[in-house]
Amino acid sequence: MARPAELKIAPGDIVLTGPKASQRLLVLDYASQKVVGDVTQKAKFSSSVPSTVEVDPSGVVRAKSDGEAIITATVGKDQATMRVKAEKTGADFDWNFRNHVVPVLTKLGCNSGACHGALAGKGGFKLSLRGYAPGDDHFVLTRQANGRRINPLEPARSLMLMKPSLALAHGGGLKLEVNSPEYKLIADWIVSGAPGPSKGDTTIQKLEVFPPEAVLRPKDQLQVIVRAWYSDGHAEDVTRWARFASTEDLVAGIDDSGAVTVGGSGEAAISVAFANLVATARIAVPYANPMDEKVYSASPRHNFIDNLVLKKLEALRIPPSPQCGDREFIRRAYLDAAGILPTPEEVEAFLNDARADKRARLIDSLLKRPEYVDYWAYKWSDLLLISSRKLSAPAMRAFYSFVRQSVADDKRWNQFARDILTATGSNLANGASNYFVLHKEITDLTESTAITFMGTSITCARCHNHPLEKWTQDQYWGMANLFSQVAIKNGERPGEITVQSLSAGDVLHPRRGVPVPPAPLDGKAATDSADRRAFFVNWLTAPENAFFAKAAANRVWRNFLGRGLVEAEDDLRQTNPPSNEELLDALARDFVAHGYDVKHLTRTIMNSAAYQRSSISLAGNKADDRFYSRYLVRRLPAEVVLDAYSSVTKVPTSFTKVNVGTSGGEAGTGDYPLGTRALQLPDTQLISQFLDAFGRPERGQTCSCERQSESSVTQALHLNNGQTLNDKLRDKKSRIEEWLKEKVNDEEALRRIFALALCRAPTTDEQSRFLGIMAEAARDPQTTRREVLEDLFWAVLTGREFLFNR
């Protein structure tokens, strides 16, 4: 390539602290301030003062004596330099149990869930999972098994070294080569008296990854290095003991040593874990599309969303599909915002509207419709698990009414959260109180609150430090303690439960047996005696909260774009970064700036050119399903399909049976008059073979995974041979009956059903195929006219174009 190399050495100027300090260096090639290659292996290294700082041919610097040196890396004609200062090279040095030994055990996998980190340990030897309890681990290693695990006089005779190096039989196989750096580190630590963790230990403060981002090409290789910063201000190279994972192995795979190999185009996040911290590096691999920059400047931009989507597409050289047509847009918008099909009249009116801003007007009118309230009340009821499975029927209704009214009133999302999380009183009078009735156990309450309002799971941290996040077990129990003063008791009426916030009571940390100060994860602890839940909500809904606005924005975004910026939509965590971080940040900021107005957020998303793109892929964006270069087609939710069947056939669904109690069984119900739509049901316990087959969530646990959008053979058999659709088609009051009376001919019937179900006219080819098959049927003496129409409806209503939004 003609571009001149622009070399820099990572991590840049550093200080090596202590007699054993070393640092692996990278020589990185830059273009336009971005890392575009790793040329370390081609580099020759030299030190200006080798007696102070020595550098080996692979690019590792080691402190020899206090002082400073300049390191030079030479690649062909190009050079780069960095300054290294060595200090405390004469100081006493012992490997530290907490900061060195435990990370080594973690890297080797000794304390993983499959080995000694299992709840019951392995082979009578139990360590804390990934070292979350160093004090316990030290006791186990130095005191248990008659002290045979370490032998200070003859370190090589310590079980801790003999078993993993296979000097003695080891169920886990070879984990530690004799005389490897890890082996020596453990041996040195044993020789130094196997000191345990102490209060005076420095603690790790942050992780730094180099390079934090890079733009690479397929087959490129890149080494990642990791530095840990400690509370005394010094930093160490911990690359060797960090654990690595890639979010997209097919784009950029990474091995145990931190070596990245690029596979294909796209973007991958490399997550790096060390001690209980995680950090990420991003690897972008642009597609090989020859792209003209004008494609992006000419692509429509309706608001800030489009700037950020196009910025990402341009960086990855993915072409955006053009905007969709008006017919696609109106069907898409109705289904995504309100779960209904537009009527043929509405479609025609929209097509005939000549105003330039007609899409924005359509969006505004949709957001005022009662079906919008149905749809979003249903969606938030999924999120809040409203059902008569665990709630009495009146309580279920009260909770649903609260949600429905909140949507109807455009209640701001922060107020909605506050009303729920600080609810008190009778669950029948204040429906929101049922949140605490559903989540009676404090662990369930804590974890469900995190998923519901922060879109993040902290469940792992209940028992040990979270392996994929920075959350510690202490932080979990601190957060749990915010909910320790919630009390519920039976009320006077049947099904009534009252929720109170007491002024005392703590939950104990299960391992340490003491209460942890009530604090929301990494927030400050509550100090006064007021309702701790209010303290939590203040933290949660503060504009600077890292989760609250993003979680809501991501959920709403996913509803419209088919894929969350973070996917799954409730899996926000550092090691699962958004596909477009700037965009999620901007959406969240805009949401906060507009007072947590969900309708504003919805309107912003629906008005973006990104939402209004065609679903037809271009040659260059076929492979992209996460940067919003086209509208992602997706199957409609179960309830939407069922309601659409009712509206197209004009035969409503009857909901007359409900599952009762935990012992099983069903009962009749007259609560839902004929004409009630599936999306208007407050409860998921209504019996419906169709809704179950198509993946209605049970509302049993807070998880977006409850709703299933996969297709199954059971669904297909049900549509073919089952009653739901066939009965609607055969009903004597159906639309088909009207058309028979009207003597609608084949061509007209075809035109009408396409308009009703697909919002478009049949193509010439479709028309000739349909009319041919229908004419053939008409000649068959066994086939009635009604059957021909039924079959026509069936064919259109079971095809992917109908069942999908596109």
Binding site: C705, L717, A795
Partner: protein
């Protein structure tokens, strides 16, 4: 020859239109009968020597002491009303309420020391026995049969894993029971019968078109459905759309495949065969399981009961809504004795037992000491399961419980080891990793869990 509208006339030999469903099952034109086709397969001529499995799930949890781990020397309040009976395997004794099983003990082995330490509710045991794991952290693990289907795919026109007759319903714990594909995704769920094969006009719900949809009509519907393709370009790169089309395709194959329809046509077995299994829901489910295995299904799960409430089951607490010991021995035991024996005999006669594992298991044992209501309560400390067929040897007894049947005295067997034994017997590498939630790799069984070697 067969016809789709088979509920009226099953055999059919007139001139059929080109469009009839018969074409979907091309093997019939080769002049082979279906069992013949599979016998050839079993003999290795088609290179498919995979092992199948029938899992009989004894919902409720049989009392080990009253069934397959008798304690004749224990005090009366433990020993219970039954006596041990010698079997055709020297030294192997079972309770005398299983006279038929006693004559076939060479075809199955007893594992007497299965135990678990989770909460003693039905649901946890269902999870652990069907998946090998207790569900924690919101992760639902896949049923052994779903894993097999995921790894091997379906064979011919029939589903890989069929669940008869219905999934386990509520059993008190309100937890998932482990009959699904869990994190593997709904497309790997078992095909669920949802009907009682013992009723007179038994049919698979939705498998056959209703009477008003003739084969001509069904065919017309498919052709009309295929004609909607004006927006095809939108779906070209959609995995979901391919899955939808795939499901419709499979459903159509299933409903129009003579092989599949034949497999479910219980009335094709002569009346004496049907009688041999017993004309009960469980008996006819076992017969249906044999038919399905014979026609290519890889794994069949048969739930003996759907719930433990208001039904005579293995859940012998002694008082209503549960069952007492006498009721169990009068109704449940003969039902099982007859169906189980008929199944292993029939499979053996047809040469299918050599490549079909048959296992019968409950979710826990029952308390050795009889309670004041004359029943026994939940006891996950030790219980007995049955396993035979395929590579599993018969006539063995694994493990021994203590004198009163409280705990394993030797060779305790975890539920994970039971799953490992099934995986191993089915020819799957137990270290194989499955794509778990968030693509976390999850091995079939945890590191270090071994199959029960004594059974191979």
């Amino acid at each position: 020859m067969l016809r789709l509208d088979a509920n009226r006339s099953v055999r059919f030999c007139d001139g059929l239109t080109r469009r009839d469903f018969l074409h979907a099952g091309a093997i019939s034109t080769l002049g082979l009968t279906l069992p013949g086709f599979f016998a050839e397969k079993a003999a290795g001529q088609t290179g498919d020597r995979d092992v199948n499995c029938i899992m009989l799930f004894l919902v409720g949890g049989p009392s080990h002491i009253d069934t397959w781990d008798p304690k004749p020397d224990a005090p009366a309040e433990v020993r219970g009303p039954f006596r041990p009976l010698a079997t055709n395997v020297p030294g192997m004794q079972i309770s005398n309420i299983f006279p038929r099983m006693a004559r076939h003990a060479d075809k199955y082995s007893l594992i007497r020391t299965v135990y678990h330490t989770a909460t003693a509710v039905h649901d946890t045991g269902h999870q652990m026995m069907q998946t090998g794991r207790l569900f924690t952290g919101g992760i639902e693990h896949p049923h052994v049969g779903c894993v097999l289907g995921y790894v091997r795919g379906q064979r011919g026109e029939v589903p890989a894993h069929v669940l008869l007759p219905r999934p386990i319903g509520r059993t008190g714990g309100n937890l998932p029971h482990g009959h699904t594909a869990g994190y593997l995704g709904r497309q790997h769920d078992p095909f669920i019968l949802n009907a009682d094969p013992a009723v007179p006009n038994f049919q698979v719900p939705d498998l056959l078109p209703p009477s008003y949809i003739s084969s001509v009509r069904a065919d017309r519907r498919q052709r009309l459905r295929d004609a909607v393709d004006g927006a095809m370009a939108s779906f070209e790169n959609s995995q979901q759309a391919r899955q939808l089309d795939g499901s419709f395709h499979l459903a159509y194959r299933l409903m129009s495949s003579p092989q599949a329809r034949e497999a479910f046509a219980l009335d094709r077995d002569p009346a004496r065969t049907r009688d041999r299994y017993g004309r009960t829901r469980f008996g006819q489910s076992c017969l249906l399981a044999r038919r399905l295995i014979e026609r290519g299904v890889r794994f069949v799960t048969v739930n003996m009961f759907e719930t433990v409430f208001d039904e005579v089951t293995w859940d012998i607490h002694g008082s209503r809504p549960f069952t007492d010991i006498a009721q169990m021995s009068r109704e449940v035991v003969p039902n099982f004795d007859q169906a189980f024996t008929a199944l292993i005999e029939d499979l053996s006669d047809r040469g299918l037992l050599q490549n079909t594992i048959v296992t019968a298991m409950g979710e826990f044992g029952r308390t050795p000491k009889i309670n004041p209501a004359g029943g026994r309560d939940h006891h996950p400390g030790a219980w007995t399961i049955l396993m035979g067929g395929g590579p599993i040897r018969g006539g063995r007894v694994v493990g021994e419980t203590d004198e009163l049947g409280y705990r394993p005295k030797s060779r305790p067997v975890t539920t994970a080891e039971v799953a490992a034994t099934l995986f191993h017997g089915l020819g799957l590498d137990t270290h194989r990793e499955l794509p778990g939630p968030q693509n976390r790799p999850i091995p079939l069984v945890d590191f270090g869990v071994q199959p029960i070697r004594e059974l191979f």
